[in-house]
């Protein structure tokens, strides 16, 4: 019985309230992160100035602490359903949680010098970062409309503030405001859709909704279409799918670059996780509605994202548009969700993880190089291979991975999507595959353009011969991303073994 139904039942019968039994082991990562938020706030209010230097360290220790229960849970195996199936902890959620935590770990590494040298508020920064992470971790397990919505707000609201962290800069304020307004609007749309879904399904649990949708008559019920479309569009804003992407480039450019990294990697992934839960656990019986809808979103995102990226002169903006294009690739498996749900879901998750690794790396390199060039404008990166050969070649590797060159991770991500959409043997699937292939070639152009500028072009007059040393935290971030990018490319089994773990009971 769902929570709502329980409450309704209790109004009639005045029995004493019995709380649900809680599996504390399954909730341990969330508990550790919540504790971390509290500790960070307390540390700041007690020690104030003196605590500033320790904030990143404390944050990262907490993140590593949260990874421990994930490992023990993974070791235990099996799927644990909490709160009547509204909250599920299994192999797939565990891997997604690990991805969110490791991503945030790298983002903290990226932020350490950026925040300290830029003289921004530090303590609050890390507190908000961990709060947002908590929302993502909750999202990975939520199998309930309310859970998903709460998680979404928990991860979004801190992100609105983080986007405008460079308070002195108008563009950062603009970034935060745009992101906030768009986000709130999307939430409203989403809530409206969810209320319709609840009205149809009579339950907030995805499993129940799926069952009702499967039994419902398919003809003459336009409200089903309306409900599903609204929910999907709500998240289309979050994952910056065309035509709901307009906030992304401005927000990405204006926000502090580590925050941009966080938004582009973790926040977007969280949006996808929500879409995965909703589509594969609830909406699947109405594949006839969602498949064409996702076809439009996917094709539009990859094509518009790529074409717009071609014209960018700022690397961060370019990465923002390329992120839209990648979102299109990640949406593509939804186009064939009805044909092979498990494989589609798997390919999206694999893409999310690999994209996180390579995109983190690319952003890390941009941040490291911008320490010398003082900007992320493409023209300022001309010839950086002379002064920063290591960084430049690492960036080339990440760009190559984003293009999809083997043996770097990106190829497998793309390949997995190709395999799923072609394997469905549907007209929409084949059309998606062909358009993806063409987009791959378009994307290569602007990624290579960055490589070309860094490697082939001559540095501007008066450029320093030797760049300042890259701080160890940045170097560590790049190293982590690079190792992950190579490992996923050469041995994709590392990922696929986890994602194909056990029969993930669909629709339940």
């Amino acid at each position: 019985m769902s929570l709502a139904a329980q409450l309704v039942a209790q109004v009639g019968a005045p029995v004493s309230f019995r709380g649900p039994t809680i599996d504390y082991h399954a909730l341990a990562p969330e508990i550790v992160l919540s504790a971390a938020v509290v500790v960070l706030v307390l540390l700041d209010s007690i020690k104030l100035e003196r605590a500033k230097a320790y904030m990143p360290v404390v944050t990262n220790l907490a993140l590593l602490g949260a990874l421990i229960p994930l490992l023990t849970l993974a070791y235990d195996g099996g799927t644990r359903a909490l709160f009547g199936g509204s909250y599920v902890v299994g192999p797939m959620p565990l891997m997604l949680k690990a991805m969110f935590i490791v991503t945030t770990y790298v983002v903290v590494l990226l932020s350490t010098n950026y925040m300290a040298e830029g003289d921004y508020w530090e303590s609050e920064y890390y507190t908000l970062l961990v709060s947002s992470l908590l929302g993502m971790v909750v999202m990975a397990s939520s199998r309930d409309l309310i859970g998903i919505f709460v998680a979404l707000e928990l991860l979004s609201i801190p992100a609105y503030m983080l986007a405008s962290w460079r308070k002195g800069d108008v563009r950062s304020n603009e970034a935060g405001l745009k992101y906030f307004l768009m986000g709130v609007f999307a939430s409203a749309v989403l809530l409206y859709g969810m209320s319709l879904v609840y009205g149809l399904g009579g339950s907030t649990r995805l499993e129940d909704i799926g069952r009702v949708l499967a039994d419902a008559p398919t003809d003459g019920v336009p409200v089903v279409t309306l409900a599903l479309v609204f929910v999907v569009i709500g998240f289309a804003f979050k994952v910056s799918a065309v035509p709901f992407h307009v906030w992304a480039p401005d927000t990405y450019e204006g926000a502090p670059t580590p925050v941009t990294t966080f938004l582009a990697v973790a926040s977007k992934a969280a949006g996808f996780v929500a879409l995965i839960s909703l589509v594969f656990y609830a909406f699947l019986p109405r594949a006839d509605i969602i498949e064409p809808l996702f076809f439009v979103l996917a094709i539009g995102s990859m094509t518009v994202g790529n074409l717009a990226a071609l014209r960018q002169t700022n690397v961060v903006r370019m990465l923002a548009y390329s992120g839209i294009a990648h979102a299109g690739f990640m949406l593509a498996p939804f186009v064939v969700a009805g044909s092979n749900p498990f494989r589609s879901m798997q390919s999206i998750v694999v893409y999310l993880v690999i994209y996180a690794a390579m995109n983190l790396g690319a952003f890390a390199c941009v941040i490291a190089m911008a320490r010398q060039t003082r900007s992320a404008e493409l023209k300022d990166l001309a010839g950086v291979v002379r002064s920063m050969p290591g960084l430049a070649w690492c960036m080339v590797l990440f760009l190559a991975s984003l293009i999809g060159m083997p043996p770097l991770g990106g190829w497998y991500a793309k390949f997995g999507v190709f395999k799923v959409v072609v394997g469905a043997e549907t007209g929409l699937g084949y059309a998606t595959a062909i358009i993806m292939a063409i987009n791959t070639a378009i994307a290569a152009y602007y990624y290579l353009n960055v490589a070309k500028t860094m490697i082939f072009d001559d540095p501007p007059e008066g450029a320093p011969v030797r760049a300042p040393r890259t701080p160890p935290s940045l170097a560590a971030a790049i190293a982590i991303s690079l190792v992950a990018t190579f490992a996923f490319g050469i041995l994709p089994g590392l990922l696929t073994n986890v994602t194909s773990y056990g029969p993930l009971a669909l629709g339940g």
Binding site: Q346, A400, I403, M405, P406, P407, W411, Y412, F415, G416, F418, K419, V422, G423, E425, A433, I434, M436, A437, I438, T440, A441, A444, Y445, L448, N449, K452, I455, F456, L491, P492, G493, T496, N497, T499, S500
Partner: protein, 516 residues
């Protein structure tokens, strides 16, 4: 020994270059001599393993895969790490293993601007690994991975060490090839899902090339085969390159540094033709039969068009590049006949073109070092100012135009002849017409090559270069790197059976699958 090679030989020969790369990454970039030494040693060690493989190769059973390794790799997609060596891949492996050390030796005193030996050699070693892996891979995904690995090093070789238009040429090369290979990947995946086991009628869902070959396109309708073959055609045809997808080649060749041009001409282009024979034709025989006339016509257009373009060139390197388009046209014409005879001619043509055009690019590079220009009308009198270089150049032009007794003849003549009797079911009238047109192409080839040779080698040196002290004769590194190629050009010209005997059993099987 034999056992060791069976288990590890192919893995070793593929990944030895990477060992060299790792060693070089540990050496600081200032110690250039060490880098040169390491690269030469690595490529020679790789070649040594290759020689061991060739010595232990069972030539009586060249039709079957030998030294086969088969390990699990990506279970989730049923892709396995399968490698094997047979009569089709052996000549191309040998060609790669021969060319690479020679290129490194040639580079000893020919490092193109702007220097940076370390990066230059590291990229070439990565390139070597990619090329060897492509020729040995027996799994579609593994093949694709190696096929793609080749792209990036070549992009940087052209883009960093190339000529004035290098940026344009390198990006054009990259985008063209990437578009082709993306469509090729879609085709591979389609094959994976559609091919059925001929006996049980169930989808076999494998990327293993031998298994797919055995299935012979079972379960895919003719129309679907035509479409899927089209995807592969884009991937391989762009690489060859076939008319009308050839436009990246002249730019890439002209702008690439000498070493890049040599590798491009000698090995990289063969990845495309090899792909047709190894993958596209045996896996999709029905599709191949439908596409054969199209390929044949495009090949002959390539022959004629390439030759005509050669006649119009003013730059020596660009001329040689267009001659590649023309020569690869002969190879593709031979492949399009779908017969044992044609396939044999194609493999021979690939090796011969690799040796001869590789050599021509070496010469062009050396002349560029001496004259600092390759504009044909400014050159002249090479036989006077550098007689040995002039004679070598003469030998190579003769070989390239297909003079009997040199390797080029056996690539060209059987290719034309094969079109006389194409496989059953193909339009004989059309192919005989193509044969005549291709034969005319050889006349044009003789025309542009002799004209090139006359204008550059005969006569007296132009005033500009009459007493230029830079114009010296062949140097020692040049001798070392060129002699093996020249010897092979002559040797294969007299004893073509060296290659035909190896390829015959392997291509025979392919021809049987398409019923030719």
């Amino acid at each position: 020994m034999k056992q060791f090679l069976n288990d590890w030989g192919l893995i070793l020969v593929t990944f030895l270059p990477m060992v060299g790369v790792l060693a070089m990454l540990c050496v600081p970039r200032e110690s250039e001599e060490t880098h040169k030494l390491l690269a030469v040693i690595t490529s020679l060690a790789t070649a040594f393993v290759g020689i061991l493989l060739m010595l232990n190769f069972n030539y009586d059973r060249a039709g079957i895969l030998q030294f086969r390794v088969d390990h699990s790799w990506i279970d989730a997609i049923n892709s396995r790490f399968i490698m094997g060596l047979d009569g089709l891949s052996l000549p191309l492996l040998a060609l790669t293993l021969l060319i690479m050390p020679l290129v490194f030796i040639y580079s000893w005193n020919h490092i193109p601007e702007p220097g940076n030996v370390k990066a230059f050699f590291v990229l070439m070693l990565v390139l070597e690994m990619g090329m060897i892996g492509t020729f040995l891979a027996e799994d579609l995904i593994l093949f694709f991975v190696f096929f793609e690995i080749v792209l990036l090093p070549m992009y940087f070789l052209i883009g960093v060490w190339g000529g004035p238009e290098r940026k344009y040429a390198s990006i054009k090369f990259f985008i063209y090839t990437l578009l082709g290979s993306a469509l090729m990947l879609v085709a591979f995946v389609a094959v994976y899902f559609l091919v059925k086991n001929p006996v049980t009628g169930e989808a076999i869902q494998t990327f293993s090339i031998p298994e797919l070959k055995a299935a012979g396109g079972e379960g895919i309708t003719r129309a679907a085969q035509v479409v899927i073959f089209g995807g592969m055609f884009m991937g391989f045809g762009i690489k060859v390159p076939m008319f009308p997808f050839h436009t990246w080649l002249p730019d890439a060749h002209t702008q690439a540094p000498t070493q890049g041009s040599v590798i491009l001409a000698a090995v990289l282009l063969k990845l495309g033709t090899y792909g047709f024979m190894r993958i596209a034709i045996p896996i999709l025989p029905d599709g191949a039969r439908q596409w054969a006339p199209v390929i044949g016509v495009l090949a002959v257009i390539g022959i004629i068009y390439g030759a005509l373009c050669c006649l119009a060139q003013t730059d020596m390197k660009r001329l040689i590049a267009f001659s590649s388009v023309s020569h690869m046209g002969f190879t593709m014409l031979a492949i399009s006949t779908l017969t044992t005879f044609g396939f044999n001619a194609a493999v021979f043509g690939m090796v011969a073109h690799g040796l001869i055009t590789g050599m021509l690019f070496f010469i062009a590079g050396s002349m560029k070092d001496r004259y600092h220009t390759l504009e044909i009308k400014r050159l002249g009198g090479l036989l006077v100012s550098a007689p040995k270089l002039g004679w070598i150049f003469g030998l190579c032009t003769m070989a390239s135009l297909g003079l009997p007794g040199l390797a080029g003849f056996w690539g060209e003549f059987p290719a034309i002849l094969s079109a006389y009797a194409p496989a059953e079911g193909l339009n004989i009238t059309l192919f005989r017409g193509l044969m005549i047109a291709a034969a005319l192409g050889t006349v044009l080839a003789a025309g542009y090559l002799l004209w090139l040779y006359q204008r550059t080698a005969f006569g007296t040196p132009t005033e500009e270069f009459a007493d230029d002290p830079h114009i010296h004769d062949v140097t020692t590194p040049e001798w070392i790197s060129w002699t093996p190629l020249l010897v092979l050009i002559v040797l294969l010209g007299f004893v073509p059976a060296i290659i035909f005997n190896v390829t015959e059993p392997a291509v025979n099987i392919i021809a049987k699958t398409v019923g030719g």
